[in-house]
């Protein structure tokens, strides 16, 4: 998908690889300045190569790599994050320089590579805020093109790409996504290795070892320490998203302990309802697939919520994509309960405290949809939208837009 820069006739002279006359059918391409928002991602390297190649081919004469800060200067830990962001920018610039040097042709030499960390003076909330910051930067530096990394995820694990592209389309900037193959397999879930995480993992696995073994026997100490070391070396990098911190982690544990009886009660009550339905000879079920957008953050909170939803009968998390949960419900009753969002509220309570629990329910936020049956409000996206196996007779990929699919014509049948 080659996008050609907006007809900007003021483009300078263009030379191609050999420095000879331009032979491109499309005619001379105006050279322009490109802005590339970066963030560590599996496809970042390939995106950088793509931009560098395009520049070496004479499309751009300046590349601006920007990292948009999702934090604000002065926040606790913001210095570390800024430093980390600058490291990423340095690395990206080095890659780009190397690619430009490698590229044949002499245009690579006069391409300027600039990197910047922007947006750290205010909090950014949605894609619009990101785009605003980006457009402002582009305006200041005379850039008219934005190249996006297909895996660009500025906030945690939430993909912002589509909303970002949409918001960018409202600006005068030209946008394209680097034609970079997404990895078929997700990269290994690895976070940074820190001493705290290592110690936490070590302590946990040693404690588990001694639960099964005998802490008073010296030999168990030897084997336990050895085992815990192996476990924490191999797993400490994938087991924690963030360092366990002193006020937060115990607080979460305590609030989690409050949540457990609530969850157990919910499980038992709902199990009885479902047991009645299953044992009913008529089997009065009405299963549908639903989509709920939840606001709990990614990682552990999302897993907790998805597992809680699965544990409470009548609802089953089929798939979690970004903050969208695809939930299969057995009964309308369970579906309504899901949209009322009490579990979501509890999860927020466990992880972020009482004040965070008071957000509107998915129903009030209108962040829900039924994907099947007569009440369907959205089409059923089937399989393969993001690198899964390909469905055989899948309907239109990814539900178009929520407004269009009203009736049940959207239901694909296999």
């Amino acid at each position: 998908m080659w996008w050609v820069a907006d007809a900007d006739d003021a483009g300078g002279p263009v030379t191609n690889d050999a420095g000879g006359p331009v032979t491109n059918d499309a005619g001379p391409t105006p050279r322009s300045t490109v802005v590339v928002p970066v963030e560590p991602s599996p496809t970042l390297r390939a995106t950088v190569s793509h931009v560098a190649e395009a520049a070496a081919d004479g499309e751009f004469d300046a590349i601006h790599f920007v990292e948009i800060a999702s934090w604000r200067d002065g926040d606790p830990g913001s210095d570390d994050r800024s430093a980390e962001a600058r490291r990423v920018l340095e690395r990206v610039s080095a890659w780009a320089e190397a690619d430009l040097d490698d590229a044949d042709g002499d245009t690579g030499d006069d391409v300027t590579v600039v990197s910047a960390l922007i947006g750290a003076d205010e909090y950014l909330f949605g894609p619009e805020d990101y785009v605003e910051v980006l457009a402002e930067y582009a305006g200041e530096h005379g850039a008219d093109t934005v190249v996006l990394d297909p895996e660009y995820t500025p906030v945690g694990n939430t993909t912002l790409l589509q909303p970002l592209e949409f918001a960018l389309s409202n600006t005068s900037l030209s946008v394209r996504t680097a034609p970079v193959g997404r990895p078929t397999r997700p990269e290994r879930l690895r976070s940074e290795a820190t001493g705290v995480r290592f110690a936490a993992m070590f302590g946990l696995s040693l404690a588990f070892y001694f639960v099964l073994g005998d802490p008073l026997y010296w030999f168990d100490w030897v084997t336990g320490v050895a085992t815990a070391t192996i476990v924490s070396i191999t797993l400490s990098r994938i087991s924690f998203d963030a360092d366990p911190a002193i006020p937060r982690t115990p607080q979460r544990l305590v609030r989690g302990a409050i949540y457990v009886p609530v969850l157990l009660y919910e499980i038992v009550v709902a199990n009885l309802v479902v047991a009645r339905v299953i044992l009913d000879p008529r089997l009065p079920i009405d299963p549908t697939l639903n989509r709920v957008r939840v606001i709990v953050g990614s990682g552990l909170p999302l897993m907790t919520l998805a597992n809680s939803i699965t544990l409470t009968p009548g609802t089953l998390t089929v798939r979690a994509r970004d903050s969208d949960l695809y939930v299969h419900s057995l009964l309308p009753w369970a579906r309504e309960g899901l949209f009322d969002g009490s579990l979501e509220r509890w999860t927020r309570f466990v992880y972020y405290g009482r004040s965070a629990a008071r957000l509107p329910t998915p129903r009030e936020r209108d962040d829900h949809a039924i994907l099947q049956g007569p009440d369907a409000t959205e089409e059923l996206p089937i399989a393969a939208a993001d690198g899964g196996a390909t469905g055989d007779d899948a309907g239109p990929e990814a539900a178009a837009d929520a407004e269009s699919g009203t009736g049940d014509e959207g239901v694909t049948d296999a």
Binding site: T184, R185, L212, G388, A389
Partner: protein, 101 residues
Amino acid sequence: MTLVDATVVAGYTVGDFLLLAAAGFVVLAIGMLYRAVKGPTMQDRVLAVNVLGTNTVVILAILAAALSEPTFLDIALVYALLNFLMAIAISKFTVERGGVL
């Protein structure tokens, strides 16, 4: 005397009762086997085996209590973890054809 030897009703002890319950769980497992064999999709089979595994864990735990051999709980523990691993491995396998292995 331990709790397991206490009489529940008509001369049957708690141990006897637990053994009968274990037999009940096995009978349920046999029922579930139908789904594991019948399918029709691979996921149905994996699901059935996962449920069977959970049942086996309970059976092992009940045997540990009924036979007064608490060490049997270790086997149940190993099994609970392996069972999870098996379900994840097979369901990943059916989608990615060994991509995870």
